[in-house]
């Protein structure tokens, strides 16, 4: 198979994917190989574990250790995390994707998404909401209490709801949300609303009393990013089947762990190509500046890898009020991404571009040739643990990741 044929095949696999929400369960029950004392994190691996982690990731690890009851204080958490007895691994190695710090521990409930085209499954946690939350490294008592409510209140109700109502087509929701002004990475207001519309009557039917169901609906409504984690699992379920496709030069994964940015390329399998993560250029909440920002963090860049998020900014002019720039620039970002992709989505269409499909299938060769790097919409975490989100903006991956991958492609296929 030639490179061109392999890339066309990959584009077909991506376009035919049918990511579907099929249920929820505890991570320890459904993530294969997730043994006790394993903590998953966003991005590529940390070669030296705890030593390499930035502030918000460390904070989130401590929070997960407290939540699991493996430690009872911050000091004990730091000691255990640094001891070498915790197995730290990327979410992506266990079929999952996690926003920001991306921490998943065995007791946490996770969404289960299945690609109906290939049968592959992916997982993501339930989005905790805004403010002081674990994914930004917060681990105060209130954060842990909220995680417990997710596990003991929200999870059983949503699990039963999905069992009764059946599966939800996530591709349909994302496609519709793009028509309604979302780009489904940093703006998920429409997608979250559409999800609530589907779930609401079924939640009320299974709720033991009115109040429990109402609280679940209020929580979902209070968090515009409730859909984000579902979208991330859907994007991963879409892309995972191309990983390992011989001769294929398309990017299958992009992810950040707050220290390094990593990519995986379809034709090179599970090997990561990493370089130091960049600082994000964006708009900061009052009282914060770029000096407070942690380097780029989170698995949510799987959105751009699948052709939405920054690649679909033309569909979401309102996003610039959150990440900076003008509506015209939002359109330009999308148009420029056609330069580095091999095709277009046949489902994710952009009204203002006359319903052109979003740029899809990032070709490592085109990135290196043009020097044009994927544009990513993302949140900005404070570099200190526990403070939370301090802004949002645009960032690009380091070119070095793509240059390393290009060398490896030649070594493997054209030595």
């Amino acid at each position: 198979m030639s490179i061109r044929e392999a890339n066309e095949k990959a584009l077909g696999i991506i376009n035919r994917a049918r990511p579907t929400l099929i249920g929820l369960d505890r991570a320890g029950e459904v993530l294969e190989g997730l043994t006790p004392k394993t903590i998953l994190h966003a991005g590529p691996p940390f070669p030296r574990g705890w030593v390499d982690m930035s502030g918000p990731v460390r904070g989130a690890v401590i929070g997960a250790l407290l939540y699991e009851g493996w430690v009872s204080s911050q000091e004990e958490g730091e000691e255990l995390a640094a001891s070498g007895s915790i197995n730290f691994a990327p979410c992506h190695h266990y079929g999952a994707a996690g926003p920001m710090a991306g921490i998943i521990s065995p007791s946490m409930p996770v969404w289960i998404v299945e690609n109906k085209e290939g049968g592959n499954r992916t997982f993501s946690t339930i989005n905790e909401g805004l403010g002081r939350v674990l994914r930004f490294g917060a681990y105060q008592e209130g954060v842990i209490r909220h995680l417990r409510w997710i596990e003991e209140g929200l999870f059983p109700l949503l699990q039963e709801t999905l069992e009764k109502m059946g599966e939800i087509d996530l591709k349909e929701i994302t496609a519709q949300a793009l028509q309604m002004g979302d780009e489904c990475h940093n703006r998920n207001r429409a997608a979250t609303s559409l999800l609530i519309r589907k779930l609401a009557p079924h939640i009320m039917r299974v709720s033991p009393g009115r109040e429990e169901g109402a609280r679940v609906l209020e929580f979902m409504d209070s968090n515009d990013h409730f859909y984000l984690n579902l979208s991330m699992a859907a994007c991963k379920a879409t892309l995972d089947p191309i990983l390992g496709l011989k001769e294929c030069t398309l990017v299958a994964t992009m992810a950040r762990n707050g220290t390094d940015f990593g990519i995986r390329v379809a034709g090179l399998g599970h090997r990561w190509f990493t370089a130091p993560a960049e600082i994000i250029d964006g708009l900061f909440f009052p009282g914060y500046s770029q000096d407070d920002a942690n380097p780029d963090l989170g698995d949510s860049v799987i959105s751009e890898t699948a052709g939405i998020g920054g690649f679909a900014m033309a569909a979401s002019p309102a996003i610039v009020q959150f990440v900076g720039g003008s509506a015209g620039e939002a359109t330009h970002y999308t148009e420029s991404m056609y330069e580095i992709t091999v095709g277009e989505s046949d489902s994710y269409l952009i009204p203002i571009l006359d319903f052109r499909g979003t740029p899809t299938g990032i070709d490592v060769r085109r990135v290196v040739e043009t020097g044009l790097l994927p544009v990513i919409n993302t949140g900005i975490a404070h570099k200190k643990a526990g403070i939370g989100q301090i802004g949002a903006g645009l960032v690009r991956p380091p070119l070095d990741c793509f240059q390393q991958a290009l060398r490896a492609l030649v070594e493997k296929y054209r030595p």
Binding site: S2, I3, R4, T249, R365, V368, E369, G371, Q403, L406, R407, L409, V410, Y413, R414
Partner: protein, 58 residues
């Protein structure tokens, strides 16, 4: 015999400008029609990357 380049210079010029826009400015000042083309050398001129790209052509 008249060389082609001499004939070219006797006609109205329409210029395609590759890369840096500054080259077009002096022509534009003389009311010469210039079509800018956004161009830069492949891989920013990095010869190692250019060779790798050549080997990975379709």
């Amino acid at each position: 015999m008249e060389k082609p380049v001499q004939r070219l210079l006797q006609e109205d010029l329409r210029v395609i400008n590759l890369g840096l826009e500054v080259f077009a400015h002096s022509l534009q000042e003389k009311k010469v029609e210039v079509v800018p083309v956004n161009w830069s050398p492949p891989a920013g001129g990095d010869q190692e990357m250019q060779e790798l790209l050549r080997r990975l052509e379709d």
